[in-house]
Symmetry: C2
Subunit: 249 residues, 2 copies
Amino acid sequence: MRHSTPQESTPCETCPLRKNPAFRPFDAQQLAFVKSFRTGEIAVAAGETVLSQGRASDSIYTVLKGWGYRYKSLDDGRLQILNFIMPGDLIGLQGAVLDEMGHSVNASSDMVLCVFNRRKLWSLFSEFPSLAYDLTWLASREEQLLDEHLVSLGRRSALERIAHVLLLLHDRAAETGAAPEGRMPYPFSQQQLADTLGLSLVHTNKTLRKLTDRGVMTWRDRSFVLTDRDALCEIAKYDYAEKQPRPFI
Amino acid sequence: MRHSTPQESTPCETCPLRKNPAFRPFDAQQLAFVKSFRTGEIAVAAGETVLSQGRASDSIYTVLKGWGYRYKSLDDGRLQILNFIMPGDLIGLQGAVLDEMGHSVNASSDMVLCVFNRRKLWSLFSEFPSLAYDLTWLASREEQLLDEHLVSLGRRSALERIAHVLLLLHDRAAETGAAPEGRMPYPFSQQQLADTLGLSLVHTNKTLRKLTDRGVMTWRDRSFVLTDRDALCEIAKYDYAEKQPRPFI
DNA sequence: CGGGTTCTTGACTAGTTTCAAGCAAAGTGG
DNA sequence: CCACTTTGCTTGAAACTAGTCAAGAACCCG
């Protein structure tokens, strides 16, 4: 893993996540513990690798800024994106609890990550059950997102799949205030969208065109705008559920 | 949820999982806590529903005997099986931590489940960090299985997918000693296999035939035998990793 | 202003689904 | 105990969705 020079640390007190109403507040004790659990902060440039499949990682990270994606690749070059990673998400837990990372993580935009020492994970469990519970919350939510993704790949048509991820991505970004007015500034390529949905690049492009022809969305500059959300929901059979403030570590 | 009359309880001391070398042992304190956490035991007949999508569940379960599957269904009847459930697996955590179950669980054979009170989950975190850690282990492993499944649905051909699940299913069963001599007695239909792999029943059947014609497996009486494991591994690009004793609750 | 990505489009092909029909095994009721 | 029904498996043919190949256009970066 290569990344840019470590930034000077943002102290936990001014952590961008803590100001965000989408995230639940910390009490003083929890904050004190998290400060001791944390070993620093790193910046990862767009396109670089944060974690590699097959390796054990010494660290766990919480995303402070930027977007990334979690993926698995096969020997012959086929690649499957498992999930997208946004601010507040925790990455590397699998590598900390099991012995080896089953997936890789790449940054799709410049990211800033809060770094935690894997070896102190145990003290989180023994001293801060409330944080351990939050960890489990985070793991359950990830499972729920994967479940939904599995339904898409297994049972939805290309058109439904695309409409569905677009809505999902938008709503996940909107949760943390990152998608104003239906505009989703996720910096990814059509190839990445294809690798997410288990489609070929060409078919993804043609399906995207079908959606823009119907006037429900536009794709430009590696991001998209939902111009007719209702129609998209109709296509994807998607319904939005109001989110409660969520935990993070 | 309807199930048969509650069986008389197997005491934790004679729990079938505890005797099984595939599972890590409990110490006396943990055992005492689990006994208080546990509210009883239920039997679920093959075909019945254990948990329903959309509902909150008051209980969490550990499978003592039998097999089942976790799935999501869409309004129009399409169905996607997310994962299979075997002895030692924990179900219902998502419903306990988040507020609603995003999936359903059905029994594919007669099952016996150990029932825990969702409301006491918090005391598990606060009093037994070692068990909380095990819970996280279990959640991470589920995530890993889902990741692998996602790769299958997204990037593997029908032939690869079938070879891959068959091996996975066999090895998961073998872990707990339930698949002697390559014979996997999983009682499921081809329709269920199709719903697992995101394929149609017809194509699943034809692909299964292709595999039996090549002499690598046989399918009979709703279970299968791996007659040429190496060839299957070759097709699926599958490699087996030795498993350590795993936790359970 | 080149050279490299990324996006776009058309033509052709392959893999998978859908439709349709028949068979076998297991259960059900008279 | 035997018709009758149901459920699961099997097979072929036709239709269609998505993949591959190929080539050009647009965009980005140095």
